[in-house]
């Protein structure tokens, strides 16, 4: 396929070889992401082991319904992105862009709910580190909220990156001659990243919210 040959870069012989390498590169990158959050989960494990009762008490103060709604939002967004990947492979451009945009919009909804949650915690004096004197009943609760803020903050950062990626890719699919299905590998890789951000939340949610 001459069209396909155009998209093979220097060290590669075939498009298939290039796609395999790209996929593997993304998986290795995701492994580094798992290790990045792994440090935070190790800290959470230590906190939970050392201060069992205080952690349970602190977890009860989190807004579990916002957390649950956000879990639903993210899981649904992954469905949209998975649809976009399938559409990209069959070359259905509009469906592909629609799936990407749908995923990104649900991601934005997640961020909006998260902001509401942060704000109410800030008002209640549970959110550390923003000037307002937070009042905690004990040190372990303070620590739990520190960890909560750092972990969800880092996750939100990853989600923001994901939203930008999905929207920019959707724009390329809609308004440029982004070759589909030849370059569907790009959609697959962005999708993999999005799913990982989703999976990290699937672990953060029980560790933070359901530890009650």
């Amino acid at each position: 396929m001459p069209d396909e040959a155009l998209h093979v870069h220097e060290p590669y012989q075939t498009a298939a070889q290039q796609a395999e390498a790209d996929t593997m590169g993304m998986y290795v990158f995701l492994a580094t992401e798992v290790m990045l959050f792994g440090g935070l989960f190790a800290a959470a494990l230590m906190l939970r082991t050392v201060h069992h009762d205080e952690v349970i008490a602190a977890s009860r103060q989190l807004h579990i319904w916002i957390g649950t709604a956000n879990t639903v939002l993210l899981l649904t967004s992954s469905l949209f992105v998975a649809t976009a990947v399938v559409a990209a492979r069959t070359g259905t451009r509009r469906l592909c862009a629609g799936g990407l945009i749908g995923g990104a919009v649900l991601g934005l909804c997640f961020m909006a709910l998260k902001a509401v949650e942060y704000y109410s915690e800030y008002r209640e004096g549970h959110l550390p580190g923003f000037g307002l004197p937070a009042h905690f009943s004990n040190g372990a609760e303070h620590l739990f909220m520190n960890l909560y803020l750092i972990a969800t903050g880092l996750h939100a950062f990853h989600l923001a990156v994901g939203i930008v990626l999905l929207l920019s890719l959707a724009a390329r699919v809609l308004w440029t001659s982004f070759p589909l299905p030849e370059r569907s590998i790009t959609v697959t890789l962005f999708g993999l990243y999005w799913h990982l951000v989703d999976v990290i939340w699937i672990f953060l949610f029980p560790v933070l919210y359901l530890a009650r």
């Binding site: 220097e10 060290p11 593997m24 440090g39 620590l143 520190n146």
Partner: protein
């Protein structure tokens, strides 16, 4: 003797000292603009960019070491203030660990050689490779900012609560620098892993990979899996210092020991990031010197992987006196001792490879021999430190300092120079003066031992690390160490002269000046821009030297 290695004087092209055809067609001549260097995606050019940058930081870190050794000449610490001394050894550690030792061999020789050795035209992600260099430079600029704005005094370990609550240096900036350079490591490791998996040429099965590639593969696994843990740990330190989000602060119920666990979970594997590529270099140098197949290929390759796996399970031996559980200490002690097995396999197999080989005393071989000697001393003293009872006695003394310098400086830096002398003709297309190479190898070995052997005794006598005011009766040993450092400094500077000299005045190198095996020696020196005009097909084992049988006679 089957080797037909010619003397340099007889080589074609030697007479004119001009440019060979290979040089004119090489990657070095594929563009002369700054743009063609700073926006290159050619792994060979990126390797050169890295070589220049890591060498720069090697000498910055070395200057800090020179200050330290000069200050320790007298027991009162006459040269530096207490604060100044703390800042000098911190910068020495930070720069040497993250800006020289970790990137040194992988980003220069790994970058240059892995595609050539496996028959590929480039790494899997050429643009990512360039990006990793820019990230490295950004991290380096942050470090230089820390350096000129007054430094940081926590030691390279950034232990809490000193770093998070009490230190008045530029902790956040230094942590940022290390955080940034970590991503450069991650990208390099990712690139190598995918390259080795996906870009091997036809016939290059896993069992035919050069051992240099195996050790870089093992290194990359550590780079990719350990570095992110350091990133998050440093981010937590910064969060604690800037936003008072304490994870490690005991006043908030946090745990300073958690910091040490997370830090060493990265930083002990990091030691193997530094030494594994060196082990790969030495495997190449020794088989090349012996001109024999390596003894026990799979054991040498497998020991690299074994070291990489064990690397993740030994971090607790840094914390024997930090108050962790005694049972944990015993297990960490056992696992640390276990690292000696794969390391020992390598040393024995190198020795067996050399046995009855036709050894030529060229600079790469002398560097390799220096490496083996120093690595053995460093490794054996590592065993001493891995035993809990002795560690309690010598913990945080100069014994530890001497031990890890034997591995990192004696080991890795010797291997770095060995690699430089072995592949210099391939990289630059120029031969260099072998006599000066030999002199340098011997001087480094002598200077190194004079610098660091007295430190074993100092440590055993009880001199703590990181002190610059010490008991006057330890002055003789300290002065021996400092004079050794002066020799070492000269020995590190000499190659500048003759290697740069070779660039202009030496004869052009043939494709295979050492008469050795390996795909990188089948292409011209220096290699053309795309490495291979035609992707090679491999049909034989690596190190496929003719083996002499009994009765062959001395040819």
């Amino acid at each position: 003797m089957t080797s037909e290695r010619a003397d340099y004087a007889d080589l074609p092209g030697a007479a004119g000292y001009g440019e060979s055809e290979a040089i004119q067609k090489s990657y070095l001549r594929a563009g002369h603009t700054l743009r063609s260097w700073f926006l290159t995606t050619d792994h060979k050019r990126i390797a050169i960019l890295y070589l220049i940058s890591v060498t720069f930081f090697f000498f910055v870190g070395g200057a800090a070491a020179a200050l330290i050794r000069a200050d320790l000449l007298t027991p009162q610490g006459d040269l530096l203030s207490n604060e100044g001394y703390n800042r000098a050894f911190t910068l020495h550690g930070v720069i040497m660990v993250w800006f020289f030792l970790i990137p040194s061999i992988p980003t220069t020789f790994g970058n240059f050689l892995i595609p050539l050795m496996i028959g590929a035209r480039d790494l899997a992600f050429p643009r990512l490779n360039l990006l990793s260099w820019y990230i490295y430079v950004l991290g380096g600029l942050c470090t230089i900012y820390v350096l000129i704005s007054g430094g940081v005094d926590t030691g390279w370990t950034f232990y809490t609560p000193l770093s998070s609550m009490f230190s008045n240096g530029h902790v956040v900036m230094a942590a940022t620098a290390v955080f940034i350079v970590g991503f450069s490591s991650i990208l390099t490791g990712l690139n190598f892993i995918v390259t080795v998996h996906k870009l091997r040429c036809p016939g290059m099965s896993w069992g035919r990979l050069p051992l240099f590639v195996w050790s870089h593969y093992a290194t990359s696994v550590i780079l990719v899996l350990a570095t992110p843990v350091l990133s998050i740990t440093l981010a937590l330190i910064a969060a604690e210092r800037v936003f008072q989000l304490g994870i490690f602060d005991p006043a908030l119920g946090g745990d300073p020991l958690l910091y040490q666990h997370l830090f060493w979970f990265y930083s002990h594997p990091a030691v193997y990031i530094m030494v594994l590529p060196a082990l790969g270099v030495i495997s190449e140098l020794i088989t090349a010197a012996a001109r024999k197949p390596i003894f026990g290929y799979w054991f040498v390759a497998g020991s690299s992987i074994a070291i990489a796996l064990l690397a993740f399970l030994v971090w607790g031996h840094h914390m024997f006196v930090a108050g962790q559980s005694m049972y944990a200490s015993e297990i960490f002690s056992f696992l640390s001792l276990a690292v000696a097995v794969p390391s020992g396999i390598k040393v024995y197999n190198w020795t067996a490879t050399l046995y009855k080989g036709h050894i030529s005393l060229d600079p790469p071989f002398l560097f390799a021999m220096g490496f083996v000697g120093l690595f053995v001393v460093g490794g054996l003293t590592g065993l001493i430190l891995a035993m809990v009872a002795i560690d309690v006695h010598v913990h945080d003394t100069y014994f530890v300092v001497a031990h890890f310098h034997y591995i990192m400086v004696g080991g890795t830096v010797s291997a770095f120079f060995g690699a430089l002398h072995y592949w210099w003709p391939k990289i630059t297309g120029r031969l260099y003066n072998l006599v000066w190479g030999r002199v340098t190898a011997v001087l480094i070995f002598v200077g190194f031992n004079l610098t660091f052997f007295p430190q074993f005794i100092l440590g055993y006598l009880g001199m703590p690390r990181r002190y610059h005011v010490y008991d006057p009766h330890l002055q003789v040993l300290n002065d021996m160490s400092s004079s050794g450092a002066a020799i070492l400094a000269v020995a590190y500077l000499i190659p500048f002269v003759y290697l740069f000299y070779s660039l202009r005045y030496s004869p052009a190198a043939p494709a295979n000046p050492w008469d050795v095996t390996g795909l990188e020696w089948t292409v011209p020196s220096p290699p053309p821009k795309h490495n291979f005009d035609e992707i090679p097909v491999v049909t034989t084992k690596p190190y496929n030297y003719p083996v002499e049988q009994k009765g062959d006679g001395d040819a």
